[in-house]
């Protein structure tokens, strides 16, 4: 559950978001909007990666400003480009990196890493350099490295934009199977049509907040004039 209370965000004295309020409680929530509309900023505010210049963001009741560590521990964030998200040289090392703050023993970490490699068919790539993975495999690794920390909410920022059709479906199947709450920024209206709720962001404000059918209609009309 993410609560946005009168959230504004300015960047270089230029407003990016203007007094946005919303309670995000549904299981699958989509964010759509044109480039530069502020939707990616909104996603980052929900994580605490950015802090609002005015207003409050609460993640399961934790303020992302005053209670940052607690808020962040609840949320995972998956970027568009897995190449930036993978930060260790080999596949297993990258998954293990996520568990560094967990205080688990080496054996426990290794067991969990193997478990997640198995779920996403990455076992045979365990000790391979991450840059040799295919685009789809990289995104799976990036997602696994987030899920291994057991977040209660996962935010995706256009996770399928750089993928081919086959890998896009693979990633969407993974996301669809998640028990966690999902907030996803996407340009792919087909994907979002299965979601529970869609917010349409335009010029720093939410111009529609509805079921996919109604909200996407608004978005199409706004985009195509």
């Amino acid at each position: 559950m993410i609560e946005l209370r009168d959230v504004s965000f300015e960047y270089d004295a230029r407003p990016v978001l203007r007094q946005v309020s919303a309670n995000l409680a549904e299981h699958r929530i989509g964010l759509v909007g044109a480039n530069g509309s502020g939707k990616s900023t909104l996603a980052r505010l929900c994580h605490g990666l950015l802090l609002p210049t005015a207003g409050q963001v609460l993640v399961n009741g934790h303020d992302t400003r005053r209670d940052a560590a607690a808020a962040r521990s609840q949320v995972g964030f998956v970027f568009q480009d897995p190449d930036i998200q993978i930060i260790m040289p080999t596949v297993a090392e990258d998954l293990a990196f996520s568990l560094r703050p967990s205080g688990l023993s080496k054996q426990e970490i290794s067991a969990q890493v193997d478990d997640w490699l198995g779920r996403y068919d990455l076992v045979s790539h365990r000790d391979h350099p991450a840059h040799l993975l295919s685009g789809g495999q990289k995104q799976l690794l990036a997602i696994a490295a987030v899920l291994i920390t057991q977040p209660q909410i996962v935010i995706f920022d256009e996770p399928t934009t750089l993928l081919d059709l086959r890998n896009k479906h693979r990633i969407m199947a993974v996301i669809a199977a998640l028990d966690q709450q999902v907030v996803m920024v996407s340009h792919d209206l087909d994907l979002l049509s299965e979601f529970d709720r869609i917010l349409v962001v335009d010029a720093g404000q939410i111009i529609a907040d509805d079921s996919p059918r109604a909200a996407l209609d608004v978005y199409r009309r706004a985009a195509l004039g």
């Binding site: 965000f9 300015e10 960047y11 270089d12 900023t41 980052r44 994580h47 605490g48 990666l49 950015l50 802090l51 609002p52 210049t53 992302t64 400003r65 940052a68 560590a69 962040r72 995972g76 964030f77 970027f79 480009d81 190449d83 930036i84 998200q85 993978i86 930060i87 260790m88 040289p89 090392e93 990196f97 996520s98 560094r100 703050p101 350099p129 991450a130 840059h131 490295a145 920390t149």
Partner: protein, 213 residues
């Protein structure tokens, strides 16, 4: 990424990395003080035995040492010509020892073990605000992004070749801009993945910082 480490199971391979590095430092200091060519030569002999024990292929050894050895020979020859033969021999033997001994440590020690030593060596720096665990992460991060940036360099070169640009330096600005853009993302990713939480209001990690505060 490829490392210079040559897998093996010899005594030298199994010896702790820190012990090898300390021995190397001591030996290097000693060798700079010693002047007896026979002692120096026997030092090199010991290193040669080490190469034999570790079963390092001659080709590997040569590849790593050749440029420095060529310099040694040229300089030793010059020195022998201009001054006298004996200092030339001493200098030549010293350098030969240093390079071969240092390369032996490199060839028999895993990268991960050496990173651990680097982290341990940085521990006393904690009081000056250095985080040893962050050193390990930063080293790993650099290793991770060498192939990524290598690929970016190829992309830029392809794009320029497609437009008929061939000068080597035109690669630079686009490559640097791509590097900086990547750093924006990587900085965010590091934060998201639990390294340094320092988000500030209105200050995005993707911001372009203004020149004045």
């Amino acid at each position: 990424m490829l490392t210079l480490y040559t897998p093996g199971n010899s005594l030298l391979h199994r010896c702790p990395a820190a012990a090898k590095l300390i021995t190397l430092c001591l030996a290097a200091t000693l060798i700079m003080i010693l002047t007896d060519p026979i002692v120096l030569a026997s030092g090199i002999l010991v290193v040669a035995v080490g190469y034999g024990m570790a079963r390092i292929p001659g080709r590997t050894m040569w590849r790593l040492s050749r440029t420095a050895l060529v310099i040694v020979m040229v300089v030793a020859a010059c020195q022998a010509f201009f001054t006298s033969v004996s200092p030339a021999i001493i200098v030549g033997l010293r350098i030969l020892f240093l390079i071969t001994a240092a390369n032996l440590v490199t060839l028999t020690t895993r990268t991960a073990d050496l990173i651990t030593v680097v982290e341990a060596a940085a521990r006393p720096l904690t009081r000056w605000g250095v985080h040893p665990d962050r050193i390990g992460v930063t080293v790993a991060l650099a290793i991770r992004f060498i192939p990524v940036l290598g690929e970016q360099a190829c992309r830029v070169r392809e794009a320029q070749a497609a437009r008929g640009v061939k000068a080597p330096f035109t690669l630079l600005v686009p490559l640097v801009i791509r590097t900086l853009r990547l750093a924006d993302g990587v900085g965010e990713a590091l934060e998201v993945r639990g390294l340094g939480s320092s988000a500030r209001a209105g200050a995005s990690t993707t911001e372009h910082r203004s020149m004045t505060r």
